[in-house]
């Protein structure tokens, strides 16, 4: 039973990282992407393979996984954001589906049957305790890093950009550069989470990184509160624990299985309409505004001609 709770704690920590990273993109950047799972995968496979095949020490391999995820993000953001923010959704979808397809089909990653034999970061009887502590320490560092970034001069620029991108540009600020950076930071954090996942669970399959995980992450960010530091943290913990708690109701599988999907979808819809700032947020901002169509009215140049 302790093992179960520790595993839950580790998964919750990884979800905190994933949701916080996604919040950099969706909440702070105001960008809609569905590729967060594939950056998670890139981090996981990169770190696992570097350590297995080339003997790279685990901390370095994990950082390399995070770095490669961040670098790969430029391949999505640079071409699509140059055209318009809307193209990022499509580009991210293509990237997500394409890379998972590659992982599914090449021998290096173990293809569809998965990658096993991944090195464990910690061995011995206290393995789960120690790993949970490592994951949550990294969470704390990442959360503090995000807080440092979004307060102060950079945060001021991010907020101004989200409020009115054209007025922002008219002051000499480069919105494109900020968006590309936020996308890379969010993707890098996902990559780090992926690397941490692999060296504890020791087995990866492409199915784990499907596009539908984006919906779960979206729920965590929306329910917690987009464009706040604590929102996705609390949202991720809540929505990691909640589905497990439902299991204790001992409902039949035929009801349980679809219930989770329905629950998450219903939460997103309810929150976007009734409480767009989330449970722990201040005001509704970012990507959600664009989804609600509020952002469009004020993004047109000038007014009367």
């Amino acid at each position: 039973m302790t093992e179960f709770f520790l595993t839950m704690a580790i998964l919750a920590g990884l979800n905190v990282l994933l949701a916080s990273g996604f919040n950099m993109i969706l909440g702070y950047g105001g960008l809609v992407s569905v590729a967060q799972p594939v950056f998670y995968a890139i981090g996981a496979y990169t770190s696992a393979l570097l350590s297995m095949k080339l003997g790279v020490p685990l901390p370095l391999a994990m950082l390399a996984g995070a770095a490669l995820a961040a670098i790969a993000s430029f391949g999505v953001s640079l071409p699509s954001l140059r055209v318009s923010g809307d193209y990022l959704v499509i580009a991210s979808m293509g990237f997500q589906l394409g890379i998972v397809h590659v992982i599914n089909n090449i021998e290096l990653t173990g293809a569809a049957s998965g990658l096993s034999g991944i090195l464990s970061a910690v061995e011995g009887p206290g393995r789960s305790w120690i790993y949970a502590a490592i994951v949550w320490t990294i969470c704390a560092v990442v959360i503090l890093g995000i807080r440092w970034l979004v307060t102060g001069p950079y945060g001021r620029a991010i907020t101004a950009m989200r409020n009115d991108e054209e007025a922002f540009a008219s002051l000499g600020r480069d919105a494109m550069r900020i968006k590309v950076t936020l996308f890379a930071v969010g993707s890098g954090i996902a990559g780090l989470a992926g690397a941490l996942y692999g060296h504890y669970f020791l087995f990866l399959t492409p199915d784990q990184f499907g596009i539908f995980s984006s919906a779960t992450l979206l729920t965590m960010v929306v329910v917690g509160g987009a464009a706040t530091v604590r929102g996705p943290v609390l949202g991720a913990i809540l929505l990691t624990v909640l589905p497990e708690a439902i299991r204790f109701l001992q409902l039949p599988v035929s009801i349980m299985a679809p219930l989770q999907g329905v629950l998450f979808s219903a939460l997103v819809i309810l929150f976007i309409f009734l409480k767009p700032e989330g449970l722990f947020g201040g005001t509704a901002v970012g990507g959600l505004e664009a989804w609600q169509g509020r952002g469009t009215a004020r993004s047109k140049a000038g007014g009367r001609v």
Partner: protein
């Protein structure tokens, strides 16, 4: 200073700019007048990079800029305001103005990490300068308020302070007086006049004739996407044909 030649723009089949020429000089204030829909704001949007012209050239300080993105044009020295104030509503007045610093070091994470001390000093300087501009528009005491708590006229003044913080040698003001009332009228006039006297190249879209007479050196009259007359303010105002175009009667 700023020189546009042959700017042309069509939205669908509608011609909103037809072969427009405009020259702005340091120390001169040009009024851009004409009825609503004449294409005045579109001209501003083309000059500042928010609307891409179908044809024509723009040069600034001897440099061709018509292909430059909007934020770079601001960085070479073309500041602007908007018809609506367009303030950043989640930020305080002080932050609204500070974010307009020309070389905003805090825009780069690299700077934040590796040039931390420099960023801090730049922030201190920017805070002082921003407070100075807020003081000029009479709103320094409200530096920590959100912009949504201000009257419309006060918001336009913050918009002006924000544009001035950008420190461009050329300033385009889109209807600075529209919606401005009460005490803010005199403040707006005084600040714009001071900028003109400081030798900036200024272009103003405005319907307030008193303001134009008071501040502008010359005027350009636009109608249906064309420049139909230019010259001294008095000549243009005396021209009955232009008056008829302005008020929409058929002379």
């Amino acid at each position: 200073m700023l020189s546009a030649r042959g700017l042309t723009k069509k939205f669908g089949g509608v011609v909103v700019a037809q072969d427009l020429d405009l020259d702005l000089e340091l120390g001169r204030v040009v009024a851009l007048i004409g009825p609503n829909g004449a294409g005045k704001t579109t001209l501003f949007n083309m000059l500042t990079g928010f609307v891409r012209p179908d044809g024509g050239t723009i040069s600034f300080d001897g440099r061709r800029i018509e292909n430059m993105p909007a934020h770079q044009r601001a960085r070479v020295g073309i500041a602007r305001t908007w018809q609506r104030p367009r303030l950043f509503e989640s930020l305080t007045l002080l932050d609204n103005v500070m974010v307009s610093e020309r070389d905003y070091l805090g825009e780069s994470i690299g700077n934040l990490i590796f040039r931390h001390g420099e960023v801090e000093r730049a922030e201190d300087d920017a805070r002082d300068r921003a407070l100075g501009f807020l003081d000029r528009v009479g709103l320094a005491a409200r530096a920590d308020s959100l912009s949504t708590r201000l009257s419309y006229g006060q918001q336009k003044l913050v918009g002006l302070a924000r544009a001035l913080m950008n420190d461009g040698r050329c300033i385009l003001l889109d209807e600075p007086m529209a919606g401005v009332e009460g005490r803010t009228i005199e403040t707006m006039k005084a600040v714009v006049r001071a900028e003109a006297e400081a030798g900036k190249a200024i272009c103003i879209v405005e319907h307030n004739i008193g303001f134009i007479r008071d501040i502008c050196d010359s005027a350009v009259f636009m109608f249906n996407g064309r420049i139909v007359a230019s010259g001294s303010i008095d000549d243009l105002l005396a021209d009955k044909r232009l008056g008829a175009l302005y008020f929409g009667s058929h002379a």
